[in-house]
């Protein structure tokens, strides 16, 4: 048991660092490692993973708060959608067979890999001039952040609030169902649909993950899906890893990181997908 605990702390460290850098909450890394490499039942993996998501979010938030990158009002408003979705998702997980969860998880990873690839092909991160819609003005969602890489304060507007809100319902559902942070979906909602810049989008997404995950984590906690000997060492590793990751992130460029991560994500996604059909590669 001691070896397993030490191994899980190391897995947690890695997941925490990558999770904070990509804004994916660590859950996408934890569940494949626990199921594919360590042979754990996917329902317990999801339970441990949702704890990892909270640990990543809480660990990273401490660093982001000092950076003034996140948008607290956007986070709070959209959390209405993510928490409702998350509770529905956690209830569904109890009902669905494991094979379905593997397939859904695989599809999710493949989609995330494709999404990162698509964004990379789209070229440099651009700051378009966006017309704020009346809803985002009414909800005071427009904000600003300080970009370290170019040493400049950037003001931004937010548009298409209903579209973002709907996407967040889905993000919450995926989070509760699969024990992930849903960072990719949350970033899509803010950065692609609501046209927020990438850096505040991913900082805000990190913050939202914790609250979203807390909504489904209590369901998992009380129904016995969270096993202490697995979730606890992971959480410790991730807390430390997330702090390291969020410090590194400030000095890195998103494009290089994605390039390294895409093929890995694609391969793991394929493995999870096939495992749902009983095929091992």
């Amino acid at each position: 048991m001691i070896n397993t605990i030490l191994l899980l702390i190391i897995v947690g460290l890695g997941a925490g660092i990558f999770g904070a850098i990509f804004g994916i909450g660590g859950g996408m890394i934890v569940t494949p490692v626990l199921t594919l490499l360590m042979g754990l039942d996917i329902k317990y993996a999801i339970g441990a993973s949702i704890i990892s998501v909270i640990a990543t979010s809480s660990g990273a938030t401490v660093a982001y708060l000092k950076d003034d990158m996140l948008n607290l009002r956007v986070a709070m408003f959209l959390e209405i959608a993510t928490t409702i979705g998350a509770i529905a998702g956690a209830v569904l997980t109890g009902v669905l067979p494991s094979a379905v969860l593997y397939v859904l998880f695989g599809v999710l990873l493949l989609f995330s890999a494709w999404n990162m690839y698509r964004k990379m092909r789209a070229g440099k991160e651009k700051t378009e001039a966006i017309q704020a819609d009346s809803l985002s003005t009414k909800l005071k969602l427009n904000g600003s952040y300080y970009d370290n890489a170019i040493d400049k304060k950037i003001d931004y507007q937010v548009s298409n609030v209903p579209g973002g809100f709907t996407m967040m319902l889905g993000a919450g559902l995926a989070s509760g169902l699969l024990g992930i942070g849903s960072g990719a979906f949350k970033v899509i909602a803010m950065d692609t649909i609501m046209k927020m810049p990438l850096k505040p989008s991913s900082a805000t997404s990190n913050l939202m993950m914790g609250v979203t995950a807390a909504a489904s984590a209590t369901v998992y906690f009380f129904n016995g899906s969270i096993r202490p000997e697995i979730a606890a060492p992971l959480a410790i590793g991730i807390l430390v890893g997330a702090l390291i990751g969020s410090r590194i992130m400030k000095h890195l460029r998103a494009r290089v990181l994605r390039m390294i991560f895409i093929p890995i994500l694609f391969y793991i996604g394929l493995q999870m997908f096939l495992k749902g059909f009983g095929v091992t590669i």
Partner: protein, 133 residues
């Protein structure tokens, strides 16, 4: 939107400072919550590693509030781990609670309601988890 272009006005500047203060409070609360839960989890992990015992029969761990509390009184390692994990889950909930207070202080009624609504959803989630056993 015109007034947003000039954050130098006294009112805008005050708003920005208030928001800054809110974020600092939330950051501090989160940090304390994370540190406490991490410390409890660490104590539990160390107890398991050094005593080699979980405090329970093989493959068993407490999941009800009652079982966890009585396990903590008896210093059972797995009960302490579960407490630490539960505290970690509560950290984001605590963040929502502090945000309500912060928005009240800022007199942003709209966001007091929005944040309170999020808290109510979280409490409903706990209730569903509890009855869903």
């Amino acid at each position: 939107m015109a007034q947003n272009k000039q954050p130098e006005t006294a009112e805008e500047l005050k708003k920005m400072e208030e928001m800054n203060e809110i974020e600092l409070i939330i950051g501090k609360v989160l940090r304390i919550g994370v540190l406490i839960s991490a410390a409890v989890i660490l104590v539990g992990v160390l107890l398991v590693v050094f005593t080699g015992k979980t405090g329970y029969a093989a493959n068993f761990y407490p999941t009800t509030v009652k079982a966890i509390l009585s396990g903590i009184v008896a210093l059972k390692p797995f009960a302490i781990l579960m407490l630490g994990l539960f505290l970690l889950i509560l950290t984001p909930v605590l963040r929502v609670v502090v945000s309500i207070y912060a928005f009240v202080k800022e007199r942003d009624h709209l966001y007091v309601w929005i944040t309170t609504f999020v808290l109510v959803i979280l409490l409903i989630g706990m209730w569903i988890g509890y009855i869903g056993k």
